[in-house]
Symmetry: C2
Subunit: 346 residues, 2 copies
């Protein structure tokens, strides 16, 4: 797997009151990042450890504030609330980080670089504020040319937000690389960008440029690799975020889709009036919507079973998911990616 | 029909090299605006008149540059190229307008207020530069609540861009009002905003806020009227703009859809590799995509026959369109809105 990941820094990750279940940026960085996490900040879990909550990731202490964190190079905001706002209760931690000479990295809709206090303090201390969700100025409309690249394009699509699309794309890219396939990960969201060190934050671009901002990345990387695993966003039936999903579907012109879902989820998170429809509805919508621009097929499913305690029940859930979908399925984090990689035409 | 249209100003409308067929902002303002158009600027047609090209709109001279335009209060940029850029060949006209004390109104992705020369000149001369495509700062994500308003929501959807969605929404709103129905037009694009004097430029908002920016307008107006005619954008199968279309579909939660098409168009304009699929495909995609969020039905079709010379051929085209769609259809500009209004559940 090819990345331009920064790597090698020592970082603290802010995840107040949300670690680990509702801190997907923090857990993504722990699982896939190439920086060393020296502490997680969560005032509700101070004194605990990462390993009390997550397995398969490097351990680190959980502390109550930046003042309690060990020496490090950067503070990363590791939570992304609905709406992407900045919570003022984080202000002392960011201030403390800057005063200690740490860079601060955030993926919020609220830009730290436009916060007067932080901007001035950062200038004084000579540290960098990095808003990875701030798009470049030169993005524009799509040209409808992503299908002209040599690489096979595999896009993760979801039944909802936060079901594991980025994780599945990263796991597939890593596993493909281990099999000797020249694979690259195409990041489209703040966590993917933080992990990879590049990428367009698709949900922050001008809506008219949604497809174009994805297409640009496909065109840039598509002739250098044999397969691109594109990180999907949101869900095509999400009342708030479907526009982003649709733009990625048409802008990336995928050949193959992997439908991601979380075991047991029955309604759109935060929009409980919107029930999760049957899987066949998702397949019909994703394939039907893709086809007039570029034919794509749902060839496999990924089920996130992190909320299922025992492996046996998780295996049953994956089997039931595969059955309902009528395609191979797996939980790539829990059980590996073999079924999914075999289902792809690589 | 209720509008907050500015009205009563004398305006010149810039449409260089594109009037009338490819100047949809200019023609929309001529047809539906409440300002007096004193001249159209088109260097290719200087000396001709609006009435040489369009019927059913107030006449005005066509001039080669702002220097040749009569006294007026504002210059409106009446063309919107793909990508929304500013063409430097328009610079002398904008400069001349400002120097003559005219306000300048534009709906481009390029903001006149951020152009150093224009901004400085406008300050000197005390005129206003108004970028109607610049969204407000306080927009945010949708809440999925547009279906809670009292009004019936009617959305125009299209087979492509520039097929007449705004026109159909405006014609329906006007005709409904003439029948005594309390109807309002919900503008979502630069021309609709210029005509109405309010509205969110949906294709310019942060992509994450696409649905939310529509929803906000529905919530604001939805309990003050019996029916809202929402201006659709783009097409759900457009390689570049489908994200905006999708966000409007889910954000406005329409009850009824009117499918708009231009007679004879066979491929997506500017993306000729993408064929216009059969109408049944559009119906399946629009209704299928809407349903998980809010059920919507394509109840009528609107066919733009402006490129068909004789009425008889146009009538046949409308009949064939209705036949293929399996729903009543009309060309509201050429033949009136009766069939469409009757098809709606008002």
């Amino acid at each position: 797997m090819t990345t331009d990941a920064p790597g090698g820094r020592r970082i603290a990750v802010l995840a107040h009151e949300k670690f680990p279940e509702r801190a997907k940026t923090a857990t993504g960085i722990l699982r896939y990042g190439s920086d060393e996490v020296v502490a997680v900040l969560d005032r509700d879990r101070a004194g605990e450890r990462v390993s009390d909550h997550l397995s398969g990731v490097p351990d680190a202490p959980i502390v109550g504030s930046m003042a309690d964190a060990p020496d490090c190079d950067a503070l990363v905001i590791g939570i992304a609330p609905i709406g992407g706002g900045f919570d003022d209760s984080w202000r002392p931690d960011v201030r403390e980080a800057i005063e200690r000479g740490c860079d601060v990295v955030a993926g919020l809709h609220y830009f730290l670089t436009e916060d007067e206090e932080f901007a001035e303090l950062a200038r004084e201390r000579g540290v960098e504020l990095r808003d990875v969700r701030k798009p470049r100025d030169d993005l524009t409309v799509g040209r409808g040319v992503a299908d002209e690249v040599d690489a096979e394009i595999v896009l993760t699509v979801g039944t909802d937000c936060s079901v594991g699309k980025m994780t599945v794309s990263l796991e597939l890219a890593r596993a493909a690389a281990e099999r000797g396939i020249d694979a690259a990960f195409i990041p489209t969201g703040q966590t993917g960008i933080m992990i990879s060190g590049w990428g367009n934050p698709i949900d922050r671009v001008v809506s008219d440029f949604t497809a174009g901002a994805v297409e640009e990345m496909i065109v840039e990387k598509g002739n250098d690799h044999d397969v691109l695993f594109v990180e999907g966003q949101g869900s095509i039936v999400h009342p708030a975020y479907s526009a982003v999903t649709c733009g990625i579907l048409h802008g990336s012109m995928p050949d193959e889709l992997v439908l991601c879902h979380e075991a047991g989820r029955e309604a759109i998170h935060g929009y409980e009036d919107t029930a999760i429809p049957p899987l066949s509805t998702y397949v019909d919508i994703y394939e039907g919507l893709a086809a007039p621009v570029h034919e794509a097929e749902v060839v496999a499913g990924a089920l996130n079973t992190s909320n299922v305690d025992d492996d046996e029940t998780a295996r049953e859930a994956v089997a039931a998911y595969a059955d309902e979908l009528g395609a191979p399925a797996a939980d790539p984090v829990r059980f590996g990616t073999d079924e999914l990689l075999s289902a792809l035409d690589l």
